[in-house]
Amino acid sequence: MNDNTRPGNEGGATRENHMPRRVLLLGSGGLTIGQAGEFDYSGSQAIKALKEEGVEVVLVNPNIATIQTSEGLADKIYFLPLTADFVRRVIERERPDGILLSFGGQTALNCGVELHDSGVLAKHGVRVLGTPIETIVLTEDRDLFAKRLKEIGVPVAESRAVATIEEAVEAAETIGFPILLRAAYTLGGLGSSFVENAGELVEKATAGFAFSSQLLVERSLRGWKEFEYEVVRDRDDNCITVCNMENLDPMGIHTGESIVVAPSQTLSNDEFHMLRETAVSTIRKLGVVGECNIQFAINPASGEFVAIEVNARLSRSSALASKATGYPLAFVAAKLAVGKTLPEIPNSVTRATTACFEPALDYVVVKVPRWDLGKFRKAERVIGSSMKSVGEVMAIGRSLEEALQKAVRMVAPELEGVYGDEWILDDLETELSNPTDRRLLAIAEALRRDWEIARIHELTGVDPWFLYRIQNVVRLGRELSRYTLQSLPDPLLLETKRAGYSDLQIARLLLDGVKGNADQAALSVRRHRLDHGIRPYVKQIDTTAGEFPAETNYLYMTYHAQEDDVPVGDAKANRERGASAVMVLGSGAYRIGSSVEFDWCCVNAVQSLARQGYETIVVNHNPETVSTDYDVADRLYFEELSLERILDIWEKENPLGVIVSMGGQTPNNLAIPLDRAGIKVLGTSPASIDRAEDRHKFSGLLDELGLDQPRWTEARSLEEALRFAHEVGYPVLIRPSYVLSGAAMNVAYRDEDLESYLKEATLVSPEHPTVVSEFISGAKEIEVDAVANQGEVVAYAMGEHIEYAGVHSGDAVIVLPAQRVFISTVRRLKRIVREIARSLAITGPFNVQFLAKNDRIRIIECNLRASRSFPFASKTYRLNFVDLATRAMMGEPMREVSRSLFELDYVGVKAPQFSFSRLAGADPVLGVEMASTGEVACFGDGLEEAFLKSFLSVGYTIPKRGVLLSTGTIKEKTRLLPAVKSFAALGLDLYATGGTADFLKANGVEATWIPWPLDEASPNALDLIASGDVDLVVNIPKSIEQDELTNDYLIRRQAVDRGVPLLVNAETAALFAISIEMLTLDDLKVRAWDDYVPATDGAE
């Protein structure tokens, strides 16, 4: 161990640092796999820290659903693409003297490096704050990094940087297979994989070079244990480690895919501090100023270690570490970047001490990633060295079992824990050796079958200590199944609760089992244990393990306790003094369809409550969120969003009521169970929620109101489904029962489709009917986000989808206000929205989705909660819909917001952000299942400008060379003809596959015919994409749902794998073509939010 490192000034920032006047902060753009909500947290904290120092902040981030782009934080906000060109223009306009690159993930870093390299920053006197750009470049270039680490005596895995396939093969042969192949300058491990032999290497290196000019061939450390340290250093060279974390999964599984535990559990003192010391001395020598993450691998058989990588910026891990310890890493990092030192920064938790200390934890934290692989057609389920997860949860407990089981329920609400849920498993050995998102359950199953720990360890590479913990869970579960609730001994019940068992999980395992309603069964276990004095207690996260009194509001619950940290019934006492608390339920894990936008809603609800004078309680368990920041709510329970836990908190806190309508579907699903359990649900009554959510009741309501809807039925057999389809005519939409299968929604165009989908949905039975509904093609989709107060609409926003119905609303491009809807339609929609609000007596947020075709309006959905587009609507109108809704829910009298507000002289366009490049094999099509992982929105004077800005923000570029066209059915070919002519007018080379080429020729457009991928010809479409001669691919699938169209699939996949922009929808492709024909990059105005719409008092 290197224990004689004397603190030195090596690599330190100079003393000339002075506080900047105005700082440009780069955000991270739309959420993608590998770069998610954590950067909203870090950016918002940075803004708060800078404002506290009196520094002006200019923010560029097109992610409109973020807190950081909200009112009252940054001084100027630009909803613009995070590209060097746009940021340069912002710099020219705003003249900042400093720039922060480390708070917006890889996107901000790459953009900043480009601005630095091109001399823009130097030209305008913009100083890179915090870690010097040279250090960033060094840590990003794996070869330079490895060399530098060797120089300073830190062991690294043998590796060689290569620029060609030949070099890759040579390097691999020197190092010896298997090797790890990685790409430089990418986020989330994109393009990295294990390679067993030369043949495989050629294939994978080819794919890797599509993303990076440099690849790294490395010694494989598969099976080693992986650890991370979060390090903070100031310009005076004070350097501390805030948190260390251990991956439960061995090396070989990306840390973003791993179950992560903090602090480390299996390191001895020598190992722990050897890694800590190496982390500190490495970061000192690299000259990082601010926050930094360093990863290590340890050989489990000897303690030998190597450093894997350094991220010289805030990261997903730092967000996790911050929530795991209570240490505000991003806040502190921002202060350090503008020249403060650690001892100068007060500790925001204890208030008595400084930021120069290392948190001591007296609990254990488990992070579990959330995957949504079932949502993607053709995506591989196996997890590995590339990141595929879309979100994560963090659970806190005082034993590993407690935290782990909490985490499993948080991440997959359909599961009750590690053990006791029924699930079907094909081949246990394969499940263990080729880990998937189900590996914890597979381990538990192996233990249930009494497989030896050694054998499971051999197959999974998971440290036996973790396996022992899971074994303990299984042992207790088996023990439970020997008793009924009445015969269950108290010590066993307490032990199972301490091992993280939920009431329902216990109910299921007991001899008496669950008969009838699951909630009722869980409640009877609850009553039993409360009668026997078995209850959880509230503990604080205070960063000091209880050593100092802390004014922390950061709480969790545990059964490993005999008293509460905070006085119980605080809220009750407060209420007597006139203050009352309101509980707001968060969104839980980010996933496809529920992401940062719901956190924005929750945070805004909390802020609104605080303004109204209420105490606020937040319950959430997503470490990437702002709602779980220490400075948002009066009390934060980092806890499960389950009936059981909400009741526990309710009993401790006695609040006025609970808000379930801001966090998306997860809390909304609790409305009815909470109401039944006697808890006051604020806003629209749970009975109304039930009326909107229950398909039959809602249908009845629409009939009552004389409103139209697509016809539907609940098919209990294939025959019933076919009969219905024939009656209404194809296509039909199929929505299988989610209870039994993970099968996705689908559109059937003929009998065979229907038969095969219903087969795929495992079964259709009287107990589990499948909903089949009429599918209306070519219809316009319109969405209304609104707020009502006691049945009267207070405000609404009407948005129009660019795509025709059939594309999930979360994947659609949405225009606000609607630009191409008849006035008469608008009038009718408004009337319908009012009627729905009245008949459901809505108080709070709601969203209604419509189809409009041939002057006929049908209602497809109504949600009595905030929708995904609430932040977009609020920011476009600069009218805070969530604040209005919250005030309505709290009974504040209010009038309808003046109409003039809705006459805008600009347009907002929201575009989806996809992550297909990270999902090997997934078919990048748009369909009825949502597939986007994030979104952006930009403003423009007209539709085209706003549209183009938002498309540039999600990674599209303006084509310069050529376009490959396969434009679908004859109808779509015709519709796209003007677009193709636009491309031609721009001087782009046009290439087209079979039918499209013929069609274009017949219509007088010159296009080069190119063979299909499966044609025995070369070059074919795939070669063309690989050649780089096309920089746009337009591929419109012939029908949305036909698997057999392999040629199209191969083209789409090739475009994604080669990083070539891809358009798969006729309407967006047409709008894109018109937009780029109309507008050049220079025509896209660089204007701040304030320039479009100034803030008004009481607005957003």
């Binding site: 224990d3 005076d236 060279d237 001895s268 500190v280 200590w465 490993h560």
Partner: protein
């Protein structure tokens, strides 16, 4: 070895009346000692063999204990135990939240429970250690007992009431590295941690460890180290007086922990008992001369009052949390002491450079 299926219930009781329930592991014996808490998250084998914990019942605030088992009793080339800080477990009892009987580590040789049982040390798990810690924080470290229903409880015991250094100090002098060392360091053993010896030996010194009451005139040395150890420094007035004489000599003296308190007394200062002490691996200290901050390992219940030192002495380090003295030095002589543990183990090694400085001083003066 897993925890027994039906562990025996026990209590950790404090003299002020507070009581916390739990279950036994290790040796199932009732014990008495001063109850203190440590916030370190790793390093239980090192911590509980640290002689500074003599006579104490140690509460670990980190709730998962025993995960990586306990290493073997192997010794290094000098005959010093490779993995432990002294020859035996020094605490009277260990109190944890969760104890996991199943352990795994490449270097493990037995479970914590087995090891405690071998040395007849009581362990308790299933205790609300956070509630207990908050109690100690509010009311201070107090005598306490691990009590077992149906068994007689021992009398309360306060290690501050007697000279516990005598109990942990070696009885005979021992020399290590006599052949290899270029300078000779005498260590007054008040309960010295083995890693202090390792830190000196590894830097090329030879080390003679002498009992706390040994006459240093009988030892030839170039530099003197006053070691860490348990108990109230006021019990060691005699030693402080002897050290005061040694400080007149030009040979460099370096004190660690209790050694710092003894040097403080020798420098005319006063010591006082901290409410609940500093025990952990995350204690920030600032060097008042270089303004540099470091994270240190600490284990002490008493501190020197910096204001009380004779002229000619000054405060060197301060605690970043509560501002108490963490180091002192003579203004014109090569004598210095730190209240924290530069030898770490368990804990961070940020301040190991102090051994380099000390030995450089010794070599310069030789």
């Amino acid at each position: 070895m897993p925890v027994q299926a039906t562990p025996r219930k026990a209590w950790i009781s404090l003299r002020d009346g507070a009581r916390f329930s739990g279950f036994l592991f290790g040796a199932e014996v009732p014990v008495a000692g001063e109850v203190v808490f440590n916030t370190g998250m790793v390093g239980y084998p090192e911590a509980i063999t640290d002689p500074s914990y003599y006579g104490q019942i140690l509460v670990l605030t980190y709730p998962l204990v025993g995960n990586y088992g306990v290493p073997s009793n192997t010794r290094d080339a000098n005959g010093i135990p490779r993995h432990f800080e002294s020859e035996r477990i020094q605490i009277r009892g260990l109190v944890t939240s969760t104890y996991n009987g199943e352990y795994h580590h490449w270097n493990a040789d037995r479970s914590l429970s087995e090891w405690l049982a071998q040395q007849n040390i009581a362990g308790m798990h299933g205790v609300d250690t956070r509630a207990l810690t908050r109690h100690l924080r509010a009311h201070g470290s107090v005598p306490g007992r691990i009590e077992i229903d149906g068994e007689a409880a021992p009398d309360w015991y306060d290690p501050g009431s007697e000279n516990v250094v005598a109990a942990v100090s070696r009885k005979e002098p021992v020399t290590y590295g006599a052949e290899t060392g270029d300078v000779r360091i005498a260590v007054i053993d008040c309960g010295v941690k083995n890693n202090i010896l390792r830190c000196l030996l590894k830097r090329g010194a030879s080390v003679t460890v002498v009992p706390w009451d040994y006459d240093l005139a009988r030892v030839e040395y170039d530099g003197l180290l006053l070691s860490n150890g348990p108990g109230d420094p006021e019990q060691l007035r005699d030693l402080a007086t002897r050290v005061r004489g040694l400080l007149e000599a030009p040979k460099p003296v370096f004190g660690i922990c209790l050694g710092c308190q003894i040097m403080g007394l020798a420098a005319g200062g006063k010591t006082f008992k901290l409410l609940f002490g500093h025990r952990g691996q995350n204690q920030p200290v600032s060097d008042l001369i270089t303004k540099r901050w470091s994270i240190t390992s600490q284990n002490h219940g008493y501190a020197v009052d910096g204001e009380s030192l004779d002229p000619g002495w000054e405060t060197w380090f301060k605690n970043g949390n509560d501002g108490t003295l963490e180091g002192l030095r003579a203004k014109d002589r090569p004598h210095r002491a730190v209240q924290f543990h530069p030898e770490a183990v368990c804990g961070p090694v940020d301040t190991a450079y102090l051994f380099d400085d000390f030995l450089a001083e010794v070599r310069a003066g030789k």
